[in-house]
């Protein structure tokens, strides 16, 4: 937000400090206070897009995407080439998984500021989610070229490579990510998923432990952690999709199952029952390991 620095103004807060103050409050997760601060800033400088961007950031923190959009519309009305506003727009569309609009906003943001590595990262994430791993690889490589010191990007790179079955390169990228980043739960999530894809349940669990230590309040992190614990039970790993089966395509798996069903029907029934049992038992064990003999807490919307 340093680029938000403005010309000297008179007011209770010294000129040029509003941006820093908002950023600080956002860093502290005090989104309502950041909203108030950005509001003050807007009153002082209503004709510049920066306070609107700051308001959008605060609304993003509060998960109020509609209001964040409104603020960005205002910012872009004042300056259609406002790179931060396009970037934030892409972030919002990414959060709401509106992929078409997200790609448009990202393209516009990159047209104005081709050095914005995080837009390449968002695009890589999107392609990865859609299973287009080659395109994901290309995007994350662009992000890494722009910011090679960012561990988060190296972690996603490792995950994409694992999805492409490039095991050795994925492992190498994971080591790089660990050297670069020790405090980002998202990076550890990627590294956990990458390890899981490589069939290394122990490393996946270790990464998920780091992720949850850093951000236990995130529901996705909790779910992934519990699954990583589940996968560390040997009987779960034996009866639920062994690693070598992952190398097959879905249609190959279905054909194999049909053939096996015709040839060894009773064995298949036993395997299915063991599969269900392994799922249930491992889930129960993990629950007891984490919550003891108490019920799991209710899910709460934040």
């Amino acid at each position: 937000m340093d680029e938000y620095m403005q010309e000297p103004q008179t007011g209770p807060v010294p000129a040029g400090l509003r941006a820093d103050r908002v950023q600080r409050l956002l860093d502290w997760n005090r989104y309502k206070d950041a909203l108030a601060e950005a509001g003050e800033w807007l009153r002082e400088e209503p004709e510049t897009p920066e306070p609107y961007n700051a308001l959008a950031l605060a609304y993003l923190g509060l998960n109020d995407f509609d209001k964040a959009h409104e603020c960005l519309n205002q910012a872009l009305k004042l300056d259609p080439d406002e790179a931060d506003a396009w970037f934030l727009r892409a972030v919002i569309y990414y959060s709401t998984q509106d992929w078409d609009n997200m790609q448009q906003a990202a393209a516009e943001g990159l047209r104005i500021d081709p050095e914005r590595a995080h837009l390449h990262y968002l695009l890589a994430n999107m392609h990865n989610k859609k299973g287009k791993f080659d395109r994901a690889l290309s995007s994350i490589e662009q992000a890494m070229n722009l910011q090679p010191e960012r561990g988060l990007y190296a972690a996603l790179y490792s995950y994409v490579l694992a999805n492409l079955n490039e095991i050795a390169r994925s492992k190498e990228a994971a080591d790089t990510a660990l050297r670069l980043e020790a405090e980002d739960s998202m990076a550890f999530l990627y590294l956990g998923w990458a390890a899981d894809r490589r069939g290394d349940a122990r490393a996946a669990k270790a990464m998920m432990e780091q992720a949850i230590r850093l951000d236990p309040d995130d529901e996705q992190t909790r779910t992934e952690y519990m699954q990583a614990l589940q996968k560390n039970y040997w009987f779960y790993r034996i009866f639920t999709l062994p690693l070598f089966l992952r190398r097959f395509k879905p249609w190959q798996l279905v054909l194999t199952w049909i053939a096996v069903w015709i040839l060894f029907r009773p064995l298949v029934v036993v395997l299915i029952l063991l599969y269900i049992l392994a799922q249930l038992l491992s889930k129960i064990f993990v629950h007891i390991q984490v919550y003891g003999w108490h019920r799991a807490p209710k899910r709460r919307r934040k």
Partner: protein, 315 residues
């Protein structure tokens, strides 16, 4: 309550950081004491042993190598009386109360300098016996990513230096930190001699809720209202939640009064209607605290919270 505020305001002195900033640290001589703090017996006992008794019986404590002064950290859901408790500590020992709030902390990070923090500690030493209350301590001594920049580290280090001085230079200076998010605190702050006493301030219990409701309803037409029953039906409500509850119910009674043209007392139906749409704001805090206590509590610091959650069957 407004009278109290007014009285406090009259007692106020003000320390200003610098001529350009309007951020202030309040300084006052509180008149509230522990007698006015409902419940929280365990916490009061611990504070008496660590803060108050060494000041009242210095010879006895000196025989055990203890002197008056020290620090503690209050944590818990917002709106549950941490500030009031800190003010009562100052009232109990007739000490000056310095209140360092978020805006003042923010001005130290942005545009200010760590010298301000030293000035505040110097002021506290000069006014001993003094309670220095650092509200939102996580903002000043946080461990998050945003705190790794050079200047941020300098301010946290300055705080550590000032706290370490507690043992040697800070006789009769009591530092009370408060935070809603203790999990964001720099672990260095919790080492012995710093904020090593972590006290959980829970939401008010039923009896305290009754007292708070009585206070909030004072001066309002609420005859015939069963406050005890109301207190019973508001488990985990913070003081701030109860305040909002009474406000909403008053609004409803006022609407009725406008329609009928006569004074309408607050009725139980008003409260029932409000309670249908309003739940304790502390529930979100407990959900987050439980996650930290379950998944990220390597030193077992939040055992008290888990105990409380279990005891009150919070899900």
């Amino acid at each position: 309550m407004d009278d109290d505020k007014e009285q406090r305001r009259k007692n106020l002195k003000v320390i200003q950081f610098d001529k350009n900033a309007e951020d202030l640290v309040e300084s006052e001589k509180p008149t509230v004491t522990f007698a006015e703090v409902g419940g929280m017996e365990e916490i009061k006992k611990k504070i008496r042993m660590n803060f108050i008794m060494p000041l009242k019986q210095p010879e006895l404590f000196a025989a055990y190598g203890r002197q008056a002064g020290g620090s503690l950290l209050l944590y818990g859901p917002p709106g549950c009386g941490k500030t009031f408790l800190a003010r009562a500590v100052a009232g109990e020992i007739e000490a000056t109360f310095l209140h360092l709030e978020l805006q003042a902390i923010l001005s130290m990070y942005v545009g200010g300098s760590e010298h301000n923090l030293h000035d505040i500690f110097e002021k506290a030493r000069a006014e001993a016996p003094c309670v220095l209350f650092i509200d939102e301590l996580d903002a000043l001594g946080g461990s998050r990513q945003g705190m790794r920049q050079h200047h941020d580290r300098m301010l946290v280090n300055q705080l550590l230096i000032e706290l370490d001085g507690l043992a040697s230079f800070n006789e009769n200076v009591f530092i009370i930190g408060a935070t809603n998010t203790p999990w964001y605190l720099d672990s260095a702050l919790r080492r012995p001699g710093r904020f090593n006493n972590l006290l959980f301030v829970p939401p008010p219990e039923e009896e305290e809720r009754g007292t708070i409701l009585d206070l909030k309803l004072a001066g309002k037409p609420a005859q015939g209202l069963n406050v005890r029953k109301l207190a019973e039906s508001t488990p985990l409500f913070s003081g701030a939640d109860l305040d909002q509850l009474v406000r909403d119910a008053t609004e409803m009674a006022l609407e009725r009064a406008m329609e009928t043209g006569e004074i309408q007392p607050l009725a139980e139906t008003d409260f029932r209607r409000v309670l249908k749409s309003r739940q304790a704001s502390t529930l979100d805090w407990f959900a987050t605290a439980r996650n930290y206590a379950t998944f990220s509590d390597t030193n077992g610091e939040y055992g008290q919270v888990l105990e409380y959650i279990k005891k009150h069957r919070i899900r």
